[in-house]
């Protein structure tokens, strides 16, 4: 009896949060953020402003440097060395292993494994939504987690996305940025790849909330992260190759792609 009551409350919360979102959609169609309406309006005006900025730099002779934000890279020589190391690591170890894994494990299963790990990382997203004051995000994340953990068979199936419960991918690096922390400088870690000083601190902090940290002494504890990385790589084979193929300087291309993607996530 108690359990039915709990399910009922959860269902109501889900409906309320979905309602709040859809009513917001009709007023400001292009604001990507799910939050308070004031936030939406603010975002909308930023977007209009950015479009206008583009139109002022119209003339042929005028230089176009406006939106190009770049990350400081004082460690470039070391970063480049690690970039080369990671490049070799990818082509000589990770890619062959992931390709073998891909031939053995069907894609449907690999997507399920990805879903499982994504669902498991819910506490990180939930906490950082709260840290940033995104309460609707936190509620929707909770709904998604509960739906996927139950109906989605422990997170293997991403039912939440199918029924339009959105994911709010927040991490501590983004939280720090929201509170005004700059990226400091770019770091290309061996094994882990592109990051900044701020985001490295973020990842380290998020580890305290990450359930994978608390697997304890079970035999599978050390393998779980490895499986996650291998599985992700198998689903993204070819991405790095095409970045390299399109780039004049792959190191700079990767640095910039990482940073631009980060900026867009922080803005969301």
């Amino acid at each position: 009896m108690k359990r039915t009551g709990l399910v009922f409350v959860i269902a109501i919360i889900c409906i309320v949060s979905l309602e709040a979102e859809s009513s917001g959609q009709s007023t400001a169609t292009y604001a990507p953020e799910h939050g308070f309406s004031a936030q939406r309006v603010e975002l909308a005006s930023i977007q209009v402003a950015s479009l206008k900025e583009a139109s002022t730099e119209d003339e042929e002779a005028e230089p176009v440097e406006s939106s190009g934000e770049t990350v400081p890279d004082p460690l470039e020589p070391i970063n480049r060395a690690f970039f080369e190391f990671n490049d070799k690591l990818y082509f000589l170890v990770l890619k062959p292993v992931a390709t073998g894994y891909k031939t053995v494990v069907p894609e449907e299963v690999r997507v399920c494994i990805r879903n499982f790990f994504t669902n498991l990382a819910f506490p990180v997203r939930f906490a950082n939504n709260l840290f940033q004051g995104k309460f609707f995000g936190a509620i929707e994340e909770t709904c998604g987690f509960l739906v996927n953990s139950t109906v989605g068979l422990g997170g293997l199936a991403d039912i939440a996305t199918a029924v339009d419960i959105k994911r709010h991918d927040e991490d501590l690096g983004q939280t720090l940025a929201v509170y005004g922390a700059g990226p400091a400088f770019y770091i290309n870690w061996p094994f882990f790849g592109p990051s900044t000083l701020r985001d490295t601190i973020g990842v380290a902090g998020d580890l305290f909330i990450d359930p994978l940290t608390y697997l304890g002494n079970y035999w599978y504890a050390p393998y779980s992260r490895g499986l996650n990385i291998l599985n992700e790589t198998s689903l993204r084979l070819g991405d790095y190759e095409s970045l390299k193929k399109a780039a004049l300087d792959p190191y700079v291309a990767l640095r910039d792609a990482f940073y631009q993607n980060r900026l867009s996530k922080i803005k969301e």
Partner: protein, 199 residues
């Protein structure tokens, strides 16, 4: 009677699933959609699937892309502040080489097409500038947000940038170009471009 009720519920669910926001497609969206549809038709055409037809297929894609992309504007924006210092001849050669590279990159991307859905989610127009929001849904059910940036010229909309998952193509190349220009010269950059297009 009961059957009708179920159909009604199904329709309602479908309508709810489509979202409540007003759906209106403007001219910039139509331009992007027209080109995208053409390209999808080419890459899904069984008659062109044959590896022997690769050249013809790529040529057809190229023609469709040319109808949408403003290579000169992309080149100007990617070269940033170095653009104004170039002679007409240098600009011409640069547009040609860089355009080729962009085209090839784009064609490589769309050639990997395997039934992804393309959904048009929004549009903003501000005078001569417009942005078209697109969501590409892969079979693995991941969503890739793409924003096309367009500019109107000669009564037509032309794309001058593509922002994929927050990464602007033009900004990415501008960062690379200014890095190369700072460390070597325009000639050095042209040499790298030539090497790249010969690959």
């Amino acid at each position: 009677m009961r059957r009708k009720g179920w159909i009604g519920i199904a329709l309602l669910a479908l309508w709810a699933g489509c979202g409540f926001g007003p759906v209106w497609a403007g001219v910039p969206t139509e331009k992007v959609k027209e080109t995208t549809d053409k390209i999808i038709a080419i890459v899904s055409d069984p008659a062109l699937k044959d590896p022997a037809k690769e050249k013809e297929r790529r040529e057809q894609i190229r023609r469709s892309v040319d109808e949408m992309c403003d290579w000169q504007e992309m080149s100007r924006r990617s070269l940033g502040r170095y653009w104004a210092q170039r002679s007409e001849q240098e600009k011409k050669e640069f547009i040609q080489l860089f355009g080729q590279l962009l085209e090839r990159t784009y064609i490589d991307k769309v050639e990997g097409y395997s039934g992804e859905k393309v959904i048009y989610t929004g549009e903003r127009v501000d005078g001569d500038y417009a942005e078209v929001d697109v969501k590409i849904v892969t079979k693995k059910n991941t969503e890739i947000p793409v924003v096309y940036k367009l500019r109107s010229r000669d009564q037509q909309w032309w794309a001058y940038d593509m922002v994929i998952e927050g990464v602007s193509l033009v900004n990415n190349y501008r960062t690379q170009f200014s890095d190369i220009m700072a460390k070597s010269s325009f000639e050095g950059l042209m040499k790298k471009l030539r090497e790249k297009s010969a690959e």
